[in-house]
């Protein structure tokens, strides 16, 4: 069994960033899959772009920092920073090329088939050109600001994700450089007047390009190019020294505008000398510039899909199934239950908070908020609760990346309403999603708890798959109450009966569970582990799974995103299977089932199996005891494993392949919509 020489890290693992790029490739595949409705494919292109943007601003930025600091140690996957950076750059460029192939080729063709056109200026009809000129003069020109770059004016500070023109103009034979950012607060698409049944658009930057001269009267326009930059998004906080975390983060978010540029895209047509000027101004290495032969930044395709708004070109609509009950507290008192989003309604969660806010017997509400949506019903209910003199304690994790500013805004609003708001903890993110409600019932205290694999966000509740768990079990309530006390610094942790948390002992808890499966395998050949996660990246965990596999334990993993484990390698992981589902909804549930000698134990968690989840976040793992819910979750896992339409299997050669076509077609997510009995297609 054991190989002659021990495997190196590179042989045992897929590097995290490379695995992530493979995930984004699967997203791109969805964009070119004809089985998906056209506008949904357009959205997949947009998702691909914004995913990749985030990847540049977070991961690539991190690698650059390591390289800059002359750090030269191998990472846990066996790569030196320069090495992985080069590999990532290479793969990202390949992916970007593939992306534009899809966009320029198949996508444009299919859009045109549906009489949707994205025109260049040259393609405009005289009537359209007239409209465009009018729009430029009335709207674009006044809000567009060219900025001169010379000795008196240093290169302007452009925020991350800015698209801008760099323009070289001559006056009296003297060259001048100017920067014109494309305005951000308007739509990238300008709708052109067109025939009925046709939708034509022109990109805003194309309008500006055609009118560049208007900005430089008395100058001679030389060369110009469009470019786009991204900056490092990391916040630099000396958290333990920050007296007020809120203020510290606010300031740091402002400072982000000046962070190091980590990615620069330019148009292919850009002249080499001109590129030098630009790179110097942005302090970016020329050799890393990505040149694009098409439209920059297509995350705006979301907008196009919205503008077109044609139900025939979207997924069939459905109504999330209702969970029937009269009063949420009574329903929970009758017994634990789960809600499976987005197939079932998010309503009970919102209702729980809303009812609590207005129930005279409710004394206190405690809740964690990680990423909340704008104009959230939950948020409003919390504000009402505080106004109704409930004790409302909210843990806002303001460090939730890219949501920092939004979270600061919410947090202040809650605080003004009289909620007790706690802004996370230094050096650790609160990623667990939990709610505790204290209610007085006939002068006895009864506590209601909601735990979830996903955030309290009504918008993502329609796009992410998650499971929420409602219970009034007092042991759970006591634990959760204690978790809140620990996080809010009110108490030292005590021994918990029903929940396991990171960063304390979650990894170890899983290891113990896995050890038990190994034991069971030895004794009765019954070792089986099933898990559904977003990411598997923790190498300790992967090694443990390899150990279990070598002991004969069967391991079936459904991992949507990053998976650094290599399945099916003889002598390493031959008992492990990994599949990824990328489909209509973002798979987000975290489920773990340990066979436990054919007496399965079912867990839900807010945590993935990533090092950050185990070591630097507060996460929860909780077991589902209630028979019905447990059986249902097992059923969900069976269904998930049956999927062959949206699943890709990870092979021992590190490639994802579509499942073979010889079986009956099965789409897990669509099946769930109909299973919950609400495929009310609205025609």
């Amino acid at each position: 069994m054991s190989p002659l020489a021990p495997l190196t890290s590179k042989e045992k693992f897929i590097a995290r960033d490379l695995s992530w790029l493979l995930f984004n490739e699967r997203v791109l595949e969805e964009a070119s899959d004809n089985a998906n409705p056209l506008l949904e494919r357009l959205k997949f292109l947009a998702i691909f772009t914004s995913n990749l943007d985030e990847f540049y601003m977070v991961r690539l930025a991190g690698l650059k920092r390591l390289i800059d600091s002359k750090y030269s140690h191998k990472d846990k996957f066996g790569y030196f920073p320069e090495e992985i950076f080069a590999e990532v750059r290479k793969q990202a460029d390949v992916l970007t090329r593939k992306f534009y192939e899809v966009f320029q080729g198949k996508m444009k063709k299919d859009l045109e088939k549906n009489r949707v056109f994205i025109k260049s200026y040259a393609e405009l009809t005289p009537e359209q050109e007239k409209e465009v000129r009018k729009y430029f003069e009335s709207t674009l020109f006044p809000i567009t600001t060219p900025m001169a770059v010379d000795q008196g004016h240093p290169f302007p500070v452009l925020p991350s994700k800015t698209i801008a023109f760099a323009v070289n103009v001559l006056r009296n034979d003297k060259p001048h450089l100017a920067i014109i950012p494309v305005p951000k607060n308007i739509s990238r698409f300008f709708r052109l007047p067109s025939d009925r049944g046709e939708a034509s658009f022109i990109m805003v930057e194309e309008i500006i390009r055609a009118h560049l001269k208007s900005f430089f009267r008395g100058y001679e326009l030389q060369e110009y190019t469009l470019f786009r930059l991204m900056r490092d998004s990391e916040l630099y906080l000396a958290e333990e020294f920050a007296e007020d975390l809120l203020v510290a983060i606010e300031e740091e978010v402002k400072r982000r505008t000046r962070a190091k540029v980590v990615h620069l895209e330019i148009e292919k047509s850009c002249a080499v000398e001109f590129l030098d000027v630009l790179c110097q101004g942005l302090q970016f290495p020329k050799e890393e510039v990505v040149s694009i032969g098409s439209t920059l930044d297509l995350s705006c395709l979301f907008e196009l899909a919205r503008l077109l708004d044609n139900p025939a070109l979207l997924y069939r609509e459905y109504k999330p199934a209702k969970i029937e009950y009269e009063n949420i507290f009574e329903r929970i008192s009758q017994g634990d239950f789960i809600s499976h989003l987005p197939f079932q309604s998010f309503y009970p969660t919102v209702d729980l908070i809303h009812t609590a806010a207005h129930d005279p017997n409710v004394l206190a509400i405690k809740m964690t908020l990680y990423r909340a949506n704008e104009d959230s019903a939950i948020m409003n209910a919390l504000i009402e609760a505080a106004q109704n003199k409930k004790q409302v304690t909210i843990l806002v994790e303001i460090k939730a990346r890219f949501d920092e500013e939004k979270n600061i805004r919410w947090a202040k609003e809650l605080e003004d309403a009289g909620c007790h708001v706690i802004y996370g903890m230094a050096n650790i993110k609160i990623h667990s999603k939990m709610t505790l409600i204290v209610r007085k019932e006939e002068d006895r205290i009864r506590r209601y708890v909601h735990l979830s694999t996903g955030n309290y966000n009504e918008k993502t509740a329609r796009i992410y798959t998650d499971i929420g768990y409602f219970t009034a079990n007092d042991d759970v309530a006591r634990d959760i109450s204690d978790v809140f006390n620990v996080i809010t610094g009110y108490s030292l942790p005590s021994v918990w009966k029903r929940v396991v948390s990171s960063p304390n002992d979650m990894r170890k808890y899983f290891f113990d569970m896995i050890d038990r499966e190994i034991e069971n395998q030895k004794r009765s050949q019954s070792g089986l582990i099933r898990a559904k996660l977003n990411s598997l990246e923790d190498v300790q965990m992967i090694e443990k799974l390899y150990e279990a596999s070598n002991a004969g334990v069967k391991i079936k993993l459904v991992i949507r995103g990053i998976c650094c484990l290599i399945p099916g390698v003889p002598g390493l992981s031959e008992n492990i299977e990994v599949k990824s589902i990328v489909g209509r909804f973002l798979e987000h549930t975290r489920i773990m089932i340990f066979n436990n000698n054919d007496n399965p134990r079912v867990f839900l968690s807010s945590a993935d199996w990533m090092s950050r989840n185990f070591d630097s976040r507060i996460e929860l793992l909780f077991e589902i005891y209630q028979e019905e819910s447990r059986e249902h979750i097992k059923f969900l896992m069976d269904m998930c494993w049956k999927d062959n339409l949206k699943s890709r299997l990870l092979q021992s050669d590190r490639k994802y392949i579509r499942q073979k076509d010889n079986e009956e077609k099965f789409n897990f997510q669509e099946r769930m919509i109909s299973y919950y009995g609400s495929a009310n297609s609205i025609s």
């Binding site: 004394l363 206190a364 204290v438 007092d474 006591r478 109450s481 009110y490 108490s491 005590s494």
Partner: protein, 512 residues
């Protein structure tokens, strides 16, 4: 009904919120925060301002929790660490001003009272606590509080300043090998614990119950054969030896690693094991009982169930029991003491309205009556003065320091000079307490005079108000009361001075 107890302990502040659930208490929340009050008090004598502020800010947080559970009755209790701090009054005052919470500083007697009441309730069927002779040990960070109960009545309570935290620091201060240090500590503890045996040589114990909230739950880590049990369980001498051996073999860091216990537990657990081990010296049994509970839970139970020990005037009985024990210890004439106490009680009851006395004042008089001659132990001459300081240095079951001073003064004025502001202790009393001392010592002087012969000649007394407004004490006796009469005449003066009434003594029985 919901209640909460905040325990201001040596190492930490704790909040427990609980409510009645049938016969049990359901704990809704329990919070714990580390505050180094003990370290302040035990090593610097006072609680640092920083610690006071820290305590207050935690208490403020606790108050938010109280609101969340709509708790109206809260008690804040403090033990050794606050009790022994020189600035305890300032501490309590700062807490009161900033939070509105009143800190009750419990003494050893209070501790045993709550634990006893709680045990009675909790062990109802399992263990008949009031039919046994028991030694109850409460193991704290600051002190080890020991009480002896005979059929439910306290015989004595003593606080020995060798709590686990103190021991840890003591050990750190010793300059020797690990083995030498542990030997020294064992010698030290043995001596302290055996004090109980020395004071009560005839002590016959059925069982020993050790109350401990911190260490019980870790016993399994050291004694793998031991299964996790209920909160009340037997612990054998053999197990104790094994535990001690394991804890003293290696240093705390190693202990923490090997046995997977938190470092702060490992650091103090050796002290715990030594104390528990030495407690076996007090009994012939091969086992003791361990009870995993906290004082705060006991007080909480007391609040929620309004636990009174089985007798109505339990506190009085406990105190009388303690007083009788002291009479034995100080070789007093118990018959005389008891008789004076009975006569004084009779006078008190019949003159209560005339003197404007409250029911709760009686216990002071009773205790002073039992203990008035305690100073004889030192010297017959001016023994009343010896009585005063001896009593004021005692700590009796559930009485405060102020109350002890009142009793000391009453006892002092059982003979010779009457209360005067020139007398130091008397002078320290609040003015209403001074009046009380005057009234009660006036009664004690008469009662004591009526048993001057120490022969308990008077069976019964009756107080009769005459038509002229005088007070006539009618004593039933068939003995010669010449001696008593003589002393009555002398000792009644204070009473007459206070009331303005003339007092006479009539004897019935001998002649009629």
């Amino acid at each position: 009904m919901r209640g909460a107890v905040i325990d201001v302990g040596s190492n930490s502040l704790k909040l427990v919120i609980g409510e009645k659930a049938g016969d049990e208490i359901k704990i809704l929340e329990s919070l714990k925060n580390v505050v180094p009050i003990g370290r302040n008090t035990f090593f610097r004598g006072r609680i640092a301002q920083e610690t006071i502020n820290q305590t207050i800010s935690i208490l403020e947080k606790y108050q938010e929790r109280l609101k969340e559970y709509d708790v109206s009755s809260v008690r804040v209790i403090a033990t050794t660490a606050v009790r022994e701090a020189a600035n305890r009054a300032i501490f309590a005052d700062a807490v009161l001003r900033k939070t509105g919470l009143k800190v009750e500083v419990l003494n050893v007697g209070d501790v045993v009272y709550y634990i006893d009441a709680f045990l009675t309730h909790k062990l109802k069927k399992k263990y008949p606590i009031h039919q046994k002779n028991l030694l109850i040990v409460e193991l704290g960070a600051g002190s080890v509080d020991i009480s002896v109960l005979e059929n439910g009545f306290t015989q004595m309570s003593v606080g020995i300043p060798v709590g686990t935290l103190r021991l840890k620091n003591f050990m750190n201060s010793l300059d020797g090998s690990l083995q030498e240090v542990y030997e020294a500590v064992e010698e030290y503890i043995t001596n302290e614990i055996l004090y109980v045996k020395k004071t009560m040589p005839h002590l016959k114990l059925d069982d020993i119950i050790v109350v401990d909230e911190n260490y019980c739950s870790y016993l399994n880590n050291f004694l793998p054969s031991r299964r996790r049990e209920k909160e009340f369980f037997m612990f054998s001498e053999k197990e104790s030896d094994e535990l001690l051996a394991k804890l003293t073999q290696s240093n705390p860091e190693e202990v923490a690693m090997t046995h997977k216990v938190p470092v702060e537990i490992a650091e103090t657990m050796a002290g715990y094991a030594i104390i528990v081990n030495k407690i076996f010296r007090l009994t012939k049994n091969k086992y003791i009982y361990l009870l995993e509970t906290s004082l705060s839970e006991a007080v909480l139970a007391n609040m929620i169930f309004k636990l009174e020990n089985n007798q109505e005037n339990d506190k009085t009985n406990h105190l009388i029991s303690v007083a009788q024990n002291l009479c034995g210890k100080y070789k007093l004439d118990l018959n005389h003491s008891r008789h004076v106490a009975e006569l004084a009680k009779s006078l008190f009851e019949q003159l209560q309205d005339t003197l404007g006395l409250k029911n709760e004042n009686l216990i002071y008089l009773t205790l002073a009556a039992y203990l008035h001659d305690i100073g004889m132990f030192v010297n017959n001459r001016t023994h009343h003065k010896h009585s005063e300081y001896i009593i004021s240095s005692l700590s009796l079951f559930r009485l405060t320091e102020d109350e002890m001073n009142i009793i000391a003064c009453i006892a002092r004025y059982h003979r010779k000079g009457t209360p005067a502001l020139a007398h130091f202790l008397y002078n320290t009393l609040a003015s209403d307490s001074q009046i009380l001392v005057q009234k009660l010592s006036a009664l004690l002087r008469i009662a004591n005079a009526l048993d001057r012969s120490h022969k308990q000649k008077i069976k019964k007394i009756e107080v009769v108000a005459t038509s002229k407004g005088d007070i006539n004490i009618v004593a039933q006796s068939s003995d010669n009361l010449l001696l008593e009469r003589a002393f009555f005449k002398e000792k009644k003066e204070l009473f007459e001075e206070i009331t303005g009434n003339r007092v006479t003594l009539t004897v019935k029985g001998r002649d009629s």
